[in-house]
Amino acid sequence: MNVDFSPAEQAFRQEVLTFLDTKLPANIRHKVLNGKRLVRDDFMRWQRILFDYGWGAPYSPKDAGGTGWNHTEIAIFDNECVDAGAPGLIAFGQKMLAPVLMAFGTPEQKAHYLPRIFKGEDFWCQGYSEPGSGSDLASLKTKAEKVGDKYIVNGQKIWTTQAQFADWIFCLVRTSNEGRPQQGISFLLIDMKSPGVSVRPIIMLDGEHEVNEVFFDNVDVPVANLVGEENKGWTCAKYLLSHERTGLNLVAVCKRWMRRLHHIARTEMANGKPLIEDTHFRDRLAQCEMELMAHEITLLRTLAAIAKSGSPGPEASIIKIRASELTQSIIELSMYAAGPEALAHIPEALDPAWHGDVGGYDYTPIVAGEYLNMRKLTIFGGSNEIQRNIIAQHVLGL
């Protein structure tokens, strides 16, 4: 047994590091590493840079125009990108829609949409949840009625991340009320510029605009935008879930935030000494460190299992739960370490151009907002309660 990367994997890692060192724009790196607000252009620009390097589709197989990397290489790539301060690739296009198109799309759909994702020409968002359908996604009601050669879509999606930047949205819509709810769902691609599509921002508790409601009012969608068979959309959604779970590992984010936490602990003073020397605080820091060590190895075990058998073993279900809770612990401790000055509400501080006086350090105006924002981790992406149900049923057999 060993937990080391193979020589080939290490060489790959070095290749990624060199790429990031030379190609990641300094201003984007600065924004990401300092918790500043990102805009659409940051994501699209980075996507284009990757494409120009030949890495425009890091999660896709070679025969679909991708890099053909295995799960371990993907994890190494993601890890180093986060570490270096690259913006997360627009997950919805790359990680969610692209695999679905490859598995269920027509040759025309693949030829049209995939290159536009990989080149950074189309920004995609995901239309899944509805006000009445969160954990119970299958109960969704947004209706797509077939009339001639088009669907007429009416309804509403919610929690649509970055819909305000998006050119397109892929939606689960209801095309039949017969049978079980899952049996009447279709996977539909909708142009955000279609008449009848409107976006309403939802402001979160940190004051930022990240998610939205998207309304569909008699929106015409060509039948050609249906992916897979009508009423077989739930199969597409389930296909994605099996791919998704290791993606939400957040190991690299945890590591970067642990490094910052150490910095905070050595900068802030308590009782005339650096906070790191306060044993009460240090115990909690140690707790985060040991949980992170375990979490990273669980991720590696999962990757190794996928490499051997092609599908994630039971370890994969633990990943999302631990990732979300550990990230929350680290940012919570970071906020407490930064102290009461972190309570100041300075939204301008998230603007990359701002250089005001915060009465603290660089991290002071950032960490509380991150603490508040990260409460979403245990809720979005399949709530941790649902994840525990999955483990109970499918792992423990309860």
């Binding site: 949840s129 009445g132 359908s133 969160g134 954990s135 119970d136 109960s139 919610i158 929690w159 939802i202 402001i203 979160m204 508790l205 004051g207 802030e268 003073m269 308590a270 009782n271 005339g272 906070l275 306060d278 009460h280 605080f281 909690r284 906020m335 407490y336 102290g339 009461p340 000055e341 972190a342 309570l343 100041a344 509400h345 300075i346 009465g359 603290g360 509380a368 907002g369 603490y371 508040l372 924002n373 409460r375 979403k376 245990t378 809720i379 979005f380 709530s383 941790n384 309660e385 525990r388």
Partner: protein, 390 residues
């Protein structure tokens, strides 16, 4: 042994709650958050009319005098707890803590000073808002950490230094400021207290909103000249300690009010929100969570009762020690409960818990801020540990 409110207290709580339910709804709160007027003037007048600004203020200074639950010499009023719990319950933005509790507590201990007596009367009459400026950067909750200096001159003092996160310092008409007249930075002795008008030349007040909807200020003193009479105490530490103790008791009460509201709203949501064809409140995992939130709130309420009774203990060695332990324990436990209830209320509301539009996240932010005021739960537990080991 008696844990019920007296009749007049019950009436006071009822009328205050009625007022807040009518005049400070969540919509009012959201309007307040957008407003540039952080002083909540209308409500301050209403508080004056209700007599709430006179709570804990001696009757010979125009206040309501000593009320029930006097434990020895220091007074910490149950009435204050009622007001603070109602504030917590309604999310009200108000400088009540800063003015009536913190500064009221400091000035009350110094009421033989004519300026302090006048300030107390102004507070009780609703004429003055005040703030206590004592904490400094890198002091990290340590009350004796005062690096701001007060240098003696021919006709007074010159203050030099900074203060940080002064609660409601941005709306204060005058401030109580601690500054060191002798000894080193963390020495408990040598700390003086000054009463300073906000318009005094040399005093810079930089106000800002805080995440929880309240506001605060950082102060800086650049050659701040004060007359000798501005010094109201040359031994400020014991006075500050007692005042912060009352402030802690008050925050505990506010937190309990907020937690109660969160539990009620979460329970209601769990009964109405349906997924998979049933109310989510029927899921056992969520039921147990809500039970744990309820228990945490009740424990917080219990220790808040204890700290209300003990925060004003008479100054003798044994009681002093007991008082300090209870204050640390209360702040630590209420902080833990507040964090737990706040986080879980958000979690149980699903996506709705993290939006600005609903009250849930606002209560969560206020509870977070309460935990980080006057010593977070980790710090206070450490303090308790040291007291236990001594």
């Amino acid at each position: 042994m008696e844990f019920s409110l007296a009749e007049e207290q019950q009436q006071m709580q009822d009328s205050l709650r009625r007022y807040l339910e009518k005049s400070y709804t969540f919509d009012d709160h959201r309007a307040q958050l957008k407003s540039s007027d952080k002083s909540t003037g209308i409500h301050w007048q209403a508080f004056a009319e209700f007599g709430l600004l006179g709570i804990g203020i001696p009757d010979d200074c125009g206040g309501l005098g000593d009320t029930t639950s006097v434990s020895g010499e220091g007074v910490f009023s149950e009435d204050t707890m009622i007001v603070m719990a109602s504030i917590g319950r309604s999310l009200m933005v108000t400088p009540y803590l800063a003015t009536v509790v913190l500064c009221g507590s400091v000035l009350r201990q110094l009421k033989t000073n004519i300026d302090c007596a006048a300030a107390l009367a102004a507070i009780a009459a609703g004429e003055k808002k005040m703030a206590l400026a004592t904490y400094e950067r890198q002091g990290r909750y340590q009350l004796s950490h005062v690096a701001t200096t007060a240098t003696l001159t021919a006709d007074g003092y010159i203050l030099s230094g900074t203060k940080t996160v002064v609660i409601h310092g941005d709306v204060a008409d005058s401030l109580v400021i601690s500054a060191r007249i002798k000894n080193t930075v963390s020495d408990k002795q040598g700390i003086a207290l000054f009463l300073v008008d906000k318009n005094t030349p040399g005093l810079t007040v930089r106000g800002y909103a805080t995440n929880d909807g309240m506001s605060a200020a950082d102060l800086s003193f650049a050659a701040l000249h004060l007359p000798a009479a501005a010094m109201i105490s040359d031994d400020g530490y014991p006075i500050l300690e007692r005042a912060i103790g009352y402030g802690i008791a008050a925050l505990c009460a506010e937190a309990v009010g907020a937690m109660e509201a969160l539990n009620e709203q979460t329970l209601e949501y769990s009964k109405n929100r349906k997924q998979f064809g049933v109310a989510i409140g029927t899921f056992q995992a969520l039921q147990h969570r809500m039970v744990d939130m309820f228990i945490a709130t009740e424990q917080a309420r219990s220790i808040t009762i204890l700290v209300a009774l003990k925060a004003g203990s008479r100054d003798d060695e044994q009681r002093d020690d007991e008082r300090r332990k209870v204050i640390a324990a209360a702040k630590a436990l209420v902080g833990q409960s507040a964090r737990y209830v706040g986080q879980q209320a958000v979690q149980l509301h699903g996506g709705m818990g993290v939006v600005d539009e609903l009250a849930i996240s606002h209560y969560f932010k206020r509870l977070t801020a309460i935990d980080m005021t006057f010593g977070d739960s980790h710090y206070q537990r450490g303090q308790l540990g040291e007291l236990l080991a001594a």
